[in-house]
Amino acid sequence: MMDRVLFDRHFLQTLDSLSFVARRIYRGDMRGAHASPRRGTSLDFADYRTYQPGDDFRAIDWSIYSRLDRLFIRQYAEEEDLTVHILLDTSGSMSFGTPPKIDYARKLAAALGYVGIGSLDRVGISTFAAGLGGALAPRRGKGQLFHLLDYMSGLRAGSGTDIARSLEDYALRSRNPGLAIVITDLLGVPLDGYRRGLSALRFHEFDIVLVHVLDREEIAPSEEGYLRLSDIETRQSLAIAVDRSLLETYRRRLAAFFDSVESFCLKSRIEYLRAATIVPFEDVVLRYLRQGEHLHSR
């Protein structure tokens, strides 16, 4: 069972000061803290429009009438809530590493969920591996935080990975697009399957943050000699003599993979953050995600 005391007080206080910002303006269901395409009653001036019979006289801008001798209505922006979709990879490869990447990802998801709930946003979480797994529907309110923690405490990494199919399915099923935070190691077969999945989300109006979780041994494997490499997901094995030269080739391949992911995200306007498990996840949230476009101080 996942420890409910995930974060210390100071970290929680810091999280309280954060909120999500979406690039797009989404239509919310309830009033919230995010801009809405609707015109509403906030104090933020939005626009003028010509008076129509029946409009509230209180909204007429009399100073303009005195200058132009025409009636205009002042419109104010509406503020609504934002739906934050946390998509967490629970494939077998996420159990790899020290600590396991799934643990790191769960903490990251919990922290981001806390931020969303604290910003009066609706936060939902869905897992995926070979397909879509369980889901916690997006809700708002402090109670959702406990549901979120309970849900994540029961998560186990185990099966294969099909990022493309999983994210496509999610995009099709979701009625309220919003901010999608995809936490994954991107290790599926094929390796570029993430492109289809993220594109599907993007086509369905999701604003996407991709958190790429990696273990130190994946980034810089250190073992040499006669190794029988066993895939933690498929249990397939590969017997090779690993030497420095081969390790160098592996690192070159990995760098090329990173480049392709970054390039794709840049073109697709996806915020991309690579998170190694050796980096404290607090730093990931408070420093690196804050430097991005989607997590701001209130």
């Binding site: 077969v189 390796l191 190794l227 003599a241 080739t249 592996y250």
Partner: protein, 612 residues
């Protein structure tokens, strides 16, 4: 670079075994990875090099492979060309063509291998380098004088064949050395099987003598003796004598059969210990005419000595006519010899005698026949009597002459002898200081022996050499008399041919069917091409006769290569050059030891160092 014993390269067969053992012995560590995808891409990129690097990365394996290579190369006896020893000038190639070169080495013979080596040597000649080829047979034969035409050399070598003759390669080497021009820097190259103890009189350590040995060790059983002789004390019975040698490391039981033209006469099983010889003599119960063949069944690599041949020619009766008054001692000596029919009729020759002896009586003109003259001279031969000698002392005689074989004339007391002045054509066999005492004359159809003194006026008849002298004389006249009941020669030996008819030529048909013609006018009348084992047919006019040629040579039957050449390893079965090469096996052996030491250190290192 050449190798004294390349058979040791079989050790290189250990290389794949070592690699296999290492491949089996590799301990694979199971390592979990989140995905094989990136690893697979990396491996695919380096697929070729990885397989090699997997092995190359194993230092111990590399050292073991290097040690085996160095060790096998060292044992193979590598010989590097000596600095400055390459030599210039021409090469005299001595190609061993004696009988032992016909030993089979797999599908090829030693001679085939030797010819290949010789062709290699020709191919290695530089433009303008000359070569002469000497074929080592019973006696050396200059097969090709010096030439720079390499194509001619190759053609001559390809046409060369080994003979069935025994031979001494030392003679051929001596001949080759006599051709060598030291100022020109000529090299002498011997290609041989080395089936002899040494090369007498040849210093193999000389830098310009190169030896290439071919052939490997084989066991061999062969007939080394086969002859017939008249049974002592009996006129018409004969004995067969046969000798078989076992040149091998184990005892053998060999079936032997001797057959005449009508079937097998003698069969025997000979049990012969390793390195021993079995000999036996038996009364001959077979036919006393025609061909006889002895054969053993061995199936060894040298079939040439598994058969021996003879043409059984019963001793002929020799009719001797003795003329003269005081012939008592001569008559008694002749009566002691077998196979003679003696007549003492005086007067001219009747023409049916085989030998005529004139003792102190003048003979008629001598045209043909076999004549011995004691104290008389033929009127028609260029021999002049200039007087008489009193008590001449024999000062010298020809010991190599077959007429004086085993006859000693030392201290011979002669009361009186004719003083003679021989003309050209006479062969002086014995002489005093003043005059020849024994002479011979030979021309077509006529053989004459002249003894310048009357035996009764000397102590010659009282000496054991006197009947031997008469026997030698009759043998010289009639070679088939007495000792050649079974007409056979050893291969390579000349065979004297006789012609009783007035035919102008003699033809010899060799065992392989080829015909050779000899002119009767040839004084030597020796047939020298007895280079094949088997039966030879001699045709002279209407008469035909046969003789046989055999190897029957214990030295050739011993086909074991045993020529010792100082240096690393044994030269058996391989190629070895000496003189202009330097052995480098110690260096390679040192490398092998170093590799093994390094391998041990590599192996021991992880055992001494605690694992982290």
């Amino acid at each position: 670079m050449s190798f004294a014993n390349p058979l040791w390269f079989f050790l290189l067969g250990l290389l794949p075994v070592i690699v296999l053992l290492h491949a089996i012995a590799v301990r694979w560590r199971v390592t979990l990875v989140s995905s094989l995808a990136l690893w697979q891409e990396a491996v695919n990129e380096r697929a070729m090099s990885l397989r090699i690097r997997r092995l190359l990365g194993n230092l111990a394996l590399l050292l073991e492979l290097a040690a085996v290579i160095a060790l096998s190369t060292s044992l193979a006896g590598p010989l590097a060309p000596r600095a400055g020893g390459g030599g210039s000038g021409s090469t005299i190639l001595v190609l061993d063509a004696t009988a032992s070169m016909q030993v089979r080495e797999g599908v090829r013979t030693r001679f085939d291998l030797a010819r290949s080596r010789a062709l290699d040597a020709v191919a290695g000649l530089r433009r303008g380098d000359g070569m002469a080829i000497v074929l080592a047979e019973r006696s050396p034969r200059l097969l090709q004088p010096f030439t720079v035409d390499h194509a001619t050399l190759q053609r001559v070598l390809r046409a060369a064949v080994a003979t069935d003759e025994p031979g001494d390669v030392s003679d051929s080497m001596a001949f080759a050395l006599s051709l060598r021009d030291a100022r020109r820097g000529d090299q002498v190259l011997l290609v041989s099987d080395g089936a002899y103890e040494s090369l007498e009189g040849v210093d193999l350590s000389l830098p310009w003598i190169h030896v290439v040995l071919v052939g490997s060790r084989h066991d061999n059983v062969g007939i080394t003796g086969f002859s017939f002789r008249r049974t002592p004390g009996a006129e018409s019975t004969y004995e067969v004598f046969c000798s078989v040698a076992n040149i091998g490391a184990v005892s053998v039981s060999v079936p032997l059969s001797i057959r005449g033209e009508k079937g097998i006469v003698v069969t025997r099983h000979l049990d012969i210990a390793a390195g021993a010889r079995a000999s036996f003599g038996l009364p001959w119960t077979g036919p006393t005419e025609g061909r006889v063949e002895a054969r053993i069944e061995t199936g060894d690599a040298f079939p040439l000595d598994d058969a021996a041949y003879a043409v059984f020619a019963p001793a002929r009766t020799v009719r001797v006519r003795l003329a003269g008054s005081g012939t008592y001692f001569i008559q008694k000596a002749l009566e002691s010899l077998p196979g003679l029919v003696l007549s003492t009729d005086a007067g001219p020759e009747s023409g049916v005698e085989d030998v005529s002896i004139y003792d102190a009586v003048d003979p008629p003109d001598l045209e043909k026949g076999n004549i011995i003259l004691f104290a008389s001279t033929p009127p028609n031969l260029p021999l002049r009597v200039v007087g008489n000698l009193a008590a001449p002392v024999v000062t010298g005689w020809s010991r190599s002459s077959p007429l004086l074989d085993s006859v000693s004339l030392g201290g011979l007391l002669i009361g009186q002898a004719l003083s003679l002045q021989p003309g050209p054509g006479f062969n002086v066999l014995a002489a005093s200081r003043e005059s020849p005492l024994i002479l011979s004359w030979e021309q077509t159809g006529l053989k004459v022996i002249i003894v310048a003194f009357d035996p009764q006026k000397s102590d010659f008849p009282l000496r054991p050499g006197f009947p031997l002298f008469l026997a030698n004389a009759i043998t010289w006249f009639l070679p088939s008399w007495l000792t050649l009941q079974a007409d056979q020669v050893q291969t390579g030996q000349p065979r004297a041919l006789t012609s009783d008819s007035a035919s102008s030529s003699i033809h010899v048909v060799k065992p392989d069917g080829t015909r050779r013609a000899l002119a009767v006018s040839d004084l030597s009348r020796e047939f020298r091409e007895t280079d094949e084992v088997g039966f030879y047919r001699v045709e002279s006019g209407s008469s035909e006769s046969e003789f046989a040629a055999n190897l029957t040579s214990p030295s050739e039957t011993d086909i074991t290569p045993r020529l010792i050449i100082a240096g690393p390893g044994s030269p058996r079965g391989g190629v070895r050059t000496v003189g202009s090469t330097v052995p480098i096996w110690p260096l390679l052996a040192g490398f092998a030891l170093l590799f093994l030491l390094a391998e041990w250190l590599v192996w021991a290192a992880p055992h001494r160092r605690p694992r982290e």
